[in-house]
Symmetry: C2
Subunit: 469 residues, 2 copies
């Protein structure tokens, strides 16, 4: 029994066979049909069952992409763009089979524009590779979804992460895209400018479209100066409400925190054990400040006052790199820490996002729900954005447990939506959240469908994702 | 002879007559056919000739909008949404006649969410009315396009202005919209959350769509805390390159300037005369800093160093409200100041935007072009964004002068596009820049057209704007 209905679709066997045969001849070793490589390109990091494509093509340039798209268009064969495969809601599955276009070899940095604070890259480069390359320029790209994802994939899924509270998400940090559309044409969505009023915002239409409208082949991204000073720290709170109130006041005061992460008691327990931290168990906020030396000191001081006023423990902050990295490494390893809470179990990571005024209420209700359901499910949140994750550990061989998890996830999503929130702050819709998208936005989904039909009338671009078409 | 080809379109006389008759009965005094009111709702603040609608309906709620849209849809009659009529590229003209929907009476503030830093408003409220209302809350909405425009119109045209360099444009500051679509359905594009990955970004598709896809009937906007301290000042430079280099270094250093405006010598001359400023004529930067007391002092000091290193005069800064308001009032009155340079002439305001590394080059070439063309045309720019305006003064009865202006505007747009720039940073496409949109983005315009056809198959929503359909 599978946890999620991955939505099997009708396969066009004849078209697939033809396209596979043509592409194998054309791309030689760059076109692979081995089972393990295909399964690795179906979904591996998701709870959604794996649906492998029929062929994986490793493209090396835009012309390769156009050629594959045109051929698949002619034969009505699905195309699934693939970056690093770190998405969580079944985005790279192939429910109707077809061709996975692996963009990892299109990983060049085409041009850094230091004076303009932007960079033009191919989609396959990962965020860590980009920042490694940029280091000597004094610039960096801030968006950090945890995984070392590709920039093309991050744009396609509108990724964000820990420092979106200060720097925004991919929505705010992509200036322009080039994309191969379903008819094989290459378009350029915008010029390399900070702002423009020139027509419909195709950049933002493609950001978050999860490969269902076109394949991103080039990105122009905003960059930022590496801050003169970075400091960080953590602070315990007596309960979640107090921690959330401290977050609200911090944001209201306009303190430009770079990160403000909420960790609930169970999550902290797991991190203390896993990363050998010397802290008592409680809900915590993890913070990071970016700015001038004076600026980060001022921010930390202001936050300290807010924390104290909300019953927080002493705010321990440090500009010491080693200590800071230890804390953030514990935060980044929270997934592995969680897995130790129930060895041998499977995990399902889900996210919702609510207005921050509702965050405490939403998390507290969710904690109660977890307790009542008997689930093991720690919570960690990008609190400054009202976004939080629940990592549910469960036995994927146990039908009752699966049903329990499904019911919990449904309640979680409905709870967030009822609080003016969204069923996904940063994981995307993929296959896993299609029904919640409709519950959240109703008739707007019809408009999305009409756009999809207009741009991809053959429904060849990543079918079965976002929309039920 | 008209300066711009406003693109007259075929009128559906029968449909228009029917709709006008039905709506007059239905809306009584709220449906007006008088010539002056119709002309006032055709374009008045643009160089594009006035094309009046056949009827103006003053709607009072969303149901009114839906009723008008459904009726117009049934009879294939154009609909032109109208806020304050302060757009500049012919956005509210009625090239095929039809019904102007005046949204100015839908001007309520529906709810302020202090803790979440957002507000829900109707589209007819102006930015000044909103900020007046918000004053006691300690919050404000920053986007300032100069005119006291309506928020609905600002969203529809993706407006920005002087402080976009710090706060972004309408693109970054609209969280969610409600809109009546061409079939009369009301959709909600997103929930009231800071971020979301739930499907296609319909919010950003409607922002900047200039009324061609739907009519915005409700907006959820980001708010910001009124800064503890605001200071500002101005600084002369020996030439435009030096001023632009100071801007580039300011942005590169990450100084969070709230405003950094470039004024060329002719523009400064006009402002000195008009606003009786005691400054020598030169290119200037006007700056404003927002932050804590210590923060704005630090920003001003850092900028002073950058200015000095680029040959700038002494940077005079002040936290004194009266002095600051005098300077910014001179900047905001720059249009009237310019008009005194050539009394009796007409004006054409146009804008382009380039990467800031190209800004000096683009403005210097444009100044040379102005001199060679014998035009009177001062320049003012939102330099931190690479966006600048040219206000061209000309005799609209003189065919040769009109031709001269048209040729200059064409060269300006092509120059910006050739420098990786856009034909409009903030004025929009409307009727005036349709041909430049195609020159700028090529095949992407076909994708825009397919979206327009899918969402508005009858082409009733503000036809003849953005796209040549």
């Amino acid at each position: 029994m599978a946890l999620a209905d991955a939505g099997a679709m009708v396969r066009n066997e004849n078209g697939i066979a033809t396209v596979v045969s043509i592409l194998k001849k054309r791309f030689g070793d760059n076109a692979q049909t081995g089972k393990s490589i295909r399964e690795q390109h179906g979904h591996t990091t998701s709870y959604v069952p794996n649906q492998a494509p029929d062929l994986v093509v490793f493209v090396e340039n835009t012309e390769d992409v156009q050629e594959v798209v045109r051929l698949c268009g002619e034969w009505h064969v699905p195309i699934i763009p693939f970056g690093t495969g770190t998405s969580l809601e079944g985005h790279v599955n192939a429910p109707a089979g077809g061709v996975s276009i692996d963009l990892s070899r299109m990983n060049r940095i085409l041009k850094v524009y230091n004076e303009d604070l932007n960079v033009v890259v191919e989609p396959g480069i990962t965020r860590k590779e980009l920042n490694e390359y940029l280091r000597d320029t004094g610039l960096f790209f801030p968006i950090d979804p945890g995984a070392n994802a590709s920039l093309g994939g991050m744009a396609a899924t509108r990724a964000s992460g820990t420092n979106a509270v200060r720097y925004g998400t991919m929505r705010e940090n992509v200036l322009a895209l080039k994309a191969v559309m379903p008819d094989g044409r290459l378009i350029s969505t915008a010029k390399r400018v900070k702002k423009t009023s020139a027509g419909y915002d195709l950049t933002r239409l493609l950001v978050g479209s999860e490969g269902t409208l076109g394949i991103i082949t080039e990105l122009t991204l905003k960059l930022y100066g590496i801050p003169q000073a970075i400091s960080g720290g953590i602070c315990a709170f007596p309960d979640l409400e107090s921690a959330c109130n401290a977050v609200i006041e911090t944001i209201q005061m306009g303190i430009p925190v770079a990160r403000i992460e909420l960790v609930n008691s169970l999550q902290m327990q797991a991190m203390i054990n896993y990363s050998k931290l010397d802290y008592p168990v409680a809900p915590y906020l993890f913070l990071e400040f970016h700015g001038s030396d004076a600026g980060v000191a001022e921010q930390a001081e202001l936050f300290g006052e807010i924390a104290a006023a909300n019953g927080g423990g002493t705010f321990k902050w440090t500009a010491n790199l080693e200590e800071r990295e230890k804390l953030w490494s514990a935060r980044h390893n929270s997934y592995f820490a969680c897995m130790t809470l129930a060895p041998g179990k499977q995990s399902l990571s889900t996210d919702v996002c609510v207005p921050i005024s509702r965050l405490a209420e939403c998390i507290v209700e969710t904690e109660k729900d977890i307790a009542a359901s008997g689930l093991i499910a720690p919570i960690v949140g990008h609190a400054g954005d009202g976004n939080f994750h629940v990592l549910i550990l469960f036995d994927d061989k146990n039908a009752e447990e699966i049903q329990n998890v499904e019911a919990f996830v449904e309640r979680l999503n409905l709870r967030a939506i009822a609080m003016d929130g969204t069923c996904t702050g940063e994981h995307g819709i993929g296959q896993g959240k299609i029904k919640f998208l409709r519950l959240e936005l109703g008739g707007a989904v019809d408009v999305m469908e009409s756009i999809k039909r207009a741009i991809d009338p053959g429904n060849i671009m990543n079918p079965g994702k976002i929309l039920r078409l």
